[in-house]
């Protein structure tokens, strides 16, 4: 049975989640991937304010397909999170509560989650039409010049996800395969 959670995410909600939990997320999430992360970090380096407030929020590592007529968004599955590992700890330290993507994360990212009471949620890679139906609104809010890599605000309802790294530092990418390994 999936646990229902809503952004902005509180410490209490985060600490109640464990690896392997299925969750259905509702509220606002922001898409950002490679180029958007690079630019956000450059802005922080220059002492500028980010175009989105990260406190309590979730970033979805995704670059959606264009919206067909009559739909708020096109297919919108996750991209590989590891490419954002270089940037993620700094954003968690600014109050980001969750990142959403696919694939494992590096140790400094997991440490940042534990330090900040934050989590990592897995969306299923290659499953992109199904989640698009759970997006109620979509609006580009920053970096429009980046095309599919622009930061898009999504209003989602019951977005299906799996807790794969929790705020206690447990990692399903390690524990899952260890449990099923036969060689």
């Amino acid at each position: 049975m999936a646990k229902k959670i809503t952004t902005p995410l509180t410490d209490d909600v985060i600490m109640s989640l464990e690896i392997g939990d299925e969750v259905e997320l509702s509220g606002i999430i922001y898409t950002a991937r490679d180029s958007a992360h690079k630019r956000m970090i450059e802005m922080l380096d220059r002492g500028e304010e980010l175009p989105i407030d990260l406190k309590g929020q979730a970033i979805y590592y995704a670059g959606p397909a264009p919206a067909p007529p009559g739909k708020p968004i096109g297919s919108v599955g996750p991209t590989t999170s590891g490419r954002m590992d270089a940037y993620a700890p700094r954003l968690y330290d600014l109050g980001l509560k969750a990142t959403i993507g696919k694939g494992p994360r590096a140790k400094p990212v997991i440490d940042a989650m534990v330090r900040n009471k934050a989590i990592y949620l897995t969306a299923i890679g290659g499953v992109a039409a199904l989640p698009a139906l759970r997006v109620k609104e979509a609006k580009v809010v920053a970096f429009e010049d980046m095309g599919p890599e622009a930061i898009t605000m999504l209003v989602v309802e019951d977005f299906p996800l799996i807790v794969s790294i929790d705020a206690y530092g447990r990692d399903l990418h390690v524990e899952g395969p260890n449990r099923w390994k036969k060689i």
Partner: protein, 280 residues
């Protein structure tokens, strides 16, 4: 010399782009259904269930299965007695990609390697041509996502490495790729040839074989199953979160090589193993 109209190639290619990105072929659907039945981990089974449901939604809504509609990779067989009138074949294929990715609401994922500026229309396509006898044009498209392509590699072994060396490397490669290439994957392997031919054969293996279709040489057919069986003992499972189904199939294509070399390439393909084929 038979002539094919430029527009006919453009329209055919545009259709292929959309078809490949929205509809998975029957052999892949069947393989994913079997994987759902076979998967023992609870999380893995749920993931396989979502993968199957997503295929239904994509077809019903005419939306791409995966938002990463990839680089447009083509294998084209050009008959020696056929030509495209009113523009060249390469131009026609690129124009078809432009049209298909626009009209199908497919994501444009091509950019400059350094500035990362998007080309805006998913061109240029990557096209592998072969010249063959006859007056037909045969096109195959394999849109390729970045996540699984990034988990591909070429290794130039010394001949002394032999099959055992290659197999060990392949299993370690699949293990370290973990959840990154969106498992369950299809693994294409090119053995022999040279640096670039091994890589092209690894890709060709994925594009031109149906799931379950073994290499016609019994020696290599057995080797395919050897890697498949071992890879599925790694425990990686759907999306790398643990389970019994990691690889759906392994295809090996072989070519003769230099007396000093043993080229070896792995092309990793995610579960959105998308293809479309046409003959004009």
């Amino acid at each position: 010399m038979r002539e094919i109209k430029y527009e006919d190639v453009v329209n055919t290619v545009a259709d292929m782009c959309i078809e490949a990105c929205v509809f998975l072929k029957d052999d892949m659907k069947e393989a994913l259904r079997k994987a759902y039945e076979k998967e023992e981990s609870e999380t893995g089974k749920k993931i396989m269930g979502q993968i199957l449901k997503n295929l239904e939604v994509a077809e019903a809504e005419r939306m791409p299965i995966c938002q990463d509609t990839g680089l447009a990779v083509f294998f084209v067989e050009v008959g020696e007695e056929v030509k495209v009138s009113g523009g060249g074949l390469t131009a026609a294929i690129n124009e078809g990609v432009r049209k298909g990715y626009k009209e199908g609401y497919l994501r444009k994922s091509v950019c400059d390697p350094i500035t990362r500026k998007n080309t805006g229309d998913n061109t240029p396509a990557i096209i592998h041509y072969t010249l063959v006898p006859g007056d037909k044009l045969k096109l195959a498209i394999a849109p390729k996502g970045g996540g699984s392509e990034n988990m591909s590699t070429v290794k130039m072994f010394p001949p002394s490495a032999g099959w055992e060396g290659m197999k060990k490397f392949a299993i370690e490669w699949i293990a370290q790729s973990g959840g990154n290439p969106c498992p369950p994957t299809v693994v294409g392997i090119g053995i022999g040839g040279n640096f670039e031919l091994a890589a092209i054969n690894a890709k060709r293996a994925i594009v031109f074989r149906n799931i379950g279709q073994r290499n016609p040489d019994p020696f290599w057919a057995e080797k395919e199953l050897e890697i498949l069986e071992e890879a599925n003992k790694l425990g990686i499972g759907p999306m790398g979160l643990g389970g019994t189904v990691t690889v759906l199939d392994v295809f090996i294509e072989v070519a003769p090589c230099h007396i000093a070399s043993l080229p070896f390439a792995i092309n990793t393909q995610c579960h959105a193993n998308r293809h479309a084929f046409r003959e004009i």
